[in-house]
């Protein structure tokens, strides 16, 4: 074009410059490549990721509680050691994820504060209590199983640090599910009371585990955008369906009944039909009115406050040592 530059043309140029960044971002997404921390990204993409990754990290941290509850009462030294390793893994997963969220410009302390102030969400599943040893089995088998189902596709999330954290987490998570399955299997080979305890735990955890995949597709407003950005790879209902398909044969091996009278194979669809999920319960728990919400947050807050002097003392000691080292030099 040979038209002389006019103010309007300059303005158009400026807007073109902005969209060059966006074009680059869109091209990376279209090529199924990865976005890295220092790349330009739309504000909404950054916000979605901070929300999702920090919620995920919070879930790992709060998720330590239902199982930590049983460390002192595990039925053998072996089970105690396994449970401690698992809870330690959950802490590690929380830290990998907080680190990934930090690369987006938020701080660890901001995320911690939002959690203990009750402003940040975490998975609704951890607001259920774990009253029996069989719950350790049901949590490992169903809750970690559902988590794996959700998390494996997240290894390919378009945001590099998130995907890398998920790869590490998924590798460690598979032991969690197997140890849960083994706990249930051993109980099912035990006394009638032990079998009853296993079935009771599965009855209580099955539906909340299905809710972990989130609301149904027609009631999940953010899903489409997350899928367009390659953060999410499959819809909530697709993942839920996949999970149920994996659970049914596993429940048969265990000799346990899944508490859904409408659960049956549908030849035409090549998948299981399932009963209606109680979404009112889901929304109640999310809104803070679940069986253990208050207890979980209270415990987290106490742990944070009780650890404050340690964090501050360690920081003060490090400062003192640094000053001394400087004085000597």
């Amino acid at each position: 074009m040979t038209t002389p530059a006019e103010p309007d043309a300059l303005a158009a140029d400026a807007s073109l410059e902005v969209s060059a960044d966006e074009r680059q971002f869109n091209a990376l997404i279209a090529a199924d490549s990865r976005i890295e921390p220092r790349d330009w990204m739309p504000d909404a993409y950054r916000k979605t990721l901070v929300r999702q990754i920090s919620q995920h990290a919070n879930s790992e941290i709060i998720g330590m509680q239902p199982e930590a509850n049983w460390i002192t009462r595990a039925p053998s030294l072996k089970r105690k050691a396994i449970l401690m390793a698992k809870v330690q893994d959950e802490a590690g997963h929380g830290l990998y994820l907080y680190s990934a969220a930090q690369t987006l410009g938020t701080t660890r302390d901001e995320m911690t504060d939002a959690l203990i102030a009750g402003k940040a969400r975490y998975s609704s599943i951890f607001n259920y209590p774990s009253p029996t040893w069989a719950d350790m089995g049901a949590i490992g088998w169903l809750v970690d199983g559902a988590a794996i189902c959700n998390q494996v596709p997240l290894c390919r999330a378009s945001y590099g640090p998130y995907g890398r954290a998920m790869v590490r987490i998924c590798k460690e998570e598979s032991f969690h599910q197997r140890q849960g399955f083994e706990i249930l299997l051993e109980l099912m080979q035990g006394t009638p009371a032990q079998r009853e305890m296993a079935q009771d735990a599965v009855n209580r955890w099955y539906w909340p585990a299905l809710m972990m995949f989130g609301p149904p597709d027609d009631d999940s407003p953010n899903s489409a955008q997350s899928m367009a950005w390659n953060i999410k790879r499959f819809s909530n209902d697709e993942l839920r369906q996949r999970f149920v398909g994996m659970c049914v044969p596993q429940a048969e091996v265990l000799g346990l009944t899944l508490p859904d009278p409408d659960l049956r194979w549908n030849d035409e669809k090549g998948a299981y039909d399932m009963g209606e999920i109680d979404w009112t319960e889901f929304h109640e728990v999310l809104a803070g009115r679940g069986p253990a919400n208050a207890r979980r947050l209270q415990r987290r807050r106490e742990a944070h406050e009780e650890g404050r002097w340690v964090r501050e003392a360690a920081a003060a000691y490090a400062r003192k040592q640094a000053v001394r080292a400087q004085a000597v030099a």
Partner: protein
């Protein structure tokens, strides 16, 4: 422009980047980051966080704000020198195809 991680005034403990050598003969590779008050505790935390399953035989920790990076806004220009210089690759020299041990 967002600040580099590790320089935030809001954090009580600074951020460290962690590098692990998986076994002898392999270089240290970046595995992630963590918060710690000082270098000694950063190494211990890194052991607990990144080598719970025997993933390493050696750990480096580096204060995140001690790392200098290339200018992210100039990545195209900064890395453009190798473009069009495919004579730096063995595959550029095709006339020797079929000749053994070359």
């Amino acid at each position: 422009m967002m600040s580099a991680p590790g320089t935030s005034e809001k954090e009580i403990w600074p951020l460290w980047e962690v590098f692990v050598r998986a076994s002898r003969g392999i270089s240290h590779t970046h595995v992630g980051s963590l918060h710690a008050p000082d270098a000694a505790l950063a190494v211990r935390n890194a052991r607990d966080l990144y080598t719970r399953r025997g993933e390493g035989v050696s750990i480096w920790v580096v204060p995140a704000d001690a790392i200098t990076t290339s200018d992210p806004d100039a990545k195209g220009a900064f890395f453009e020198s190798p473009a069009g210089k495919n004579y730096r690759h063995a595959s550029y020299y095709s006339k020797s195809e079929g000749v053994k041990h070359l």
